[in-house]
């Protein structure tokens, strides 16, 4: 069954227009490694050079932001959904 990685419309050009990718389960870092094998460009937008999540990008496993779980060590199980979402914020 594997894991579904949802790619928002704004990033689909980096994965040939696909809305979803299917990759094996594992830790989030393993899932992102698999994403990187399909699209190094997408992975480079998600992870900084030192390998941590970029500041303006959020990754959810199902409905949970991984910053409030175990970051790249968050377990991603069979049937889970990973969503990559750039953040929109600002203020006075």
């Amino acid at each position: 069954m594997g894991v579904t990685v949802r790619v928002p419309a704004v990033l689909r050009a980096l994965v040939g227009g696909r809305a979803e990718l299917a990759v094996p389960a594992g830790l989030l870092r393993d899932v992102l490694d698999a994403v990187g094998r399909e699209s190094p460009e997408l992975l480079s937008r998600v992870l900084a050079q030192e390998g941590s999540l970029r500041r303006h990008v959020n990754v959810f496993v199902n409905e949970e932001d991984v910053r409030f779980r175990e970051l790249l060590d968050t377990p991603v199980r069979e049937g889970d959904c990973v969503t990559i979402v750039p953040s929109i914020a600002g203020g006075r």
Partner: protein
């Protein structure tokens, strides 16, 4: 280092439909003293057609992790991701796109802050061609609105006056 951008009265005004502005003003007034946020969608023939309100999650994140999110919703906005992704998908289904990101400032002016520019200029910003509308709310009333747009050939935003179109 970035500095806040104010309205430039020498730039041509941008005309928005009154109905669109009224909806955004109502949103800003209703959620004050928190900042509101949302999107305007439209097409090539009518750039500013539909207003989509989004939830401002900044207070939520601040309560959860005040170190990473030092501001609450009275001093910033953090657009709910599910809201904006849904709005984007629905706009695409209508043959539209997101043409403007809006938010309010409460008890201060309608400028484009350093934080606004920081997010709008990031490599992954989802709507790089969109304008940014900032409305200022003071004492429960909208007192100023400015539209910030990337100036052609310049790596910066210009603040344009906003005019109403009564049609």
């Amino acid at each position: 280092m970035r500095r806040r951008i104010e309205v430039d009265p020498d730039l041509d005004p941008v005309v928005l439909p009154t109905s669109v502005l009224n909806e955004i003003f109502a949103h800003a007034r209703e959620v004050a003293p928190e900042e509101c946020c949302g999107l305007i969608t439209g097409g090539d023939d009518a750039r500013y057609q539909h207003v989509v309100r989004c939830r401002n999650d900044m207070t939520l994140w601040h309560r959860r992790d005040a170190e990473t999110y030092p501001r609450d919703g009275t001093q910033g906005f953090y657009m709910n991701e599910q809201d904006y992704l849904r709005a984007d998908e629905e706009a695409l289904a209508r043959g539209e796109r997101v043409t403007c990101v809006y938010h309010s400032h409460v008890e201060c002016g309608a400028y484009f802050s350093e934080m606004d520019q920081d997010f709008a200029s990031q490599e992954l910003f989802p709507f790089p061609d969109a304008d940014h509308l900032v409305v200022a709310v003071t004492a429960g009333k909208v007192v100023e609105q400015v539209l910030f747009r990337r100036e052609p050939g310049a790596d910066r935003f210009g603040g344009r006056p906003v005019a109403h179109d009564l049609r």
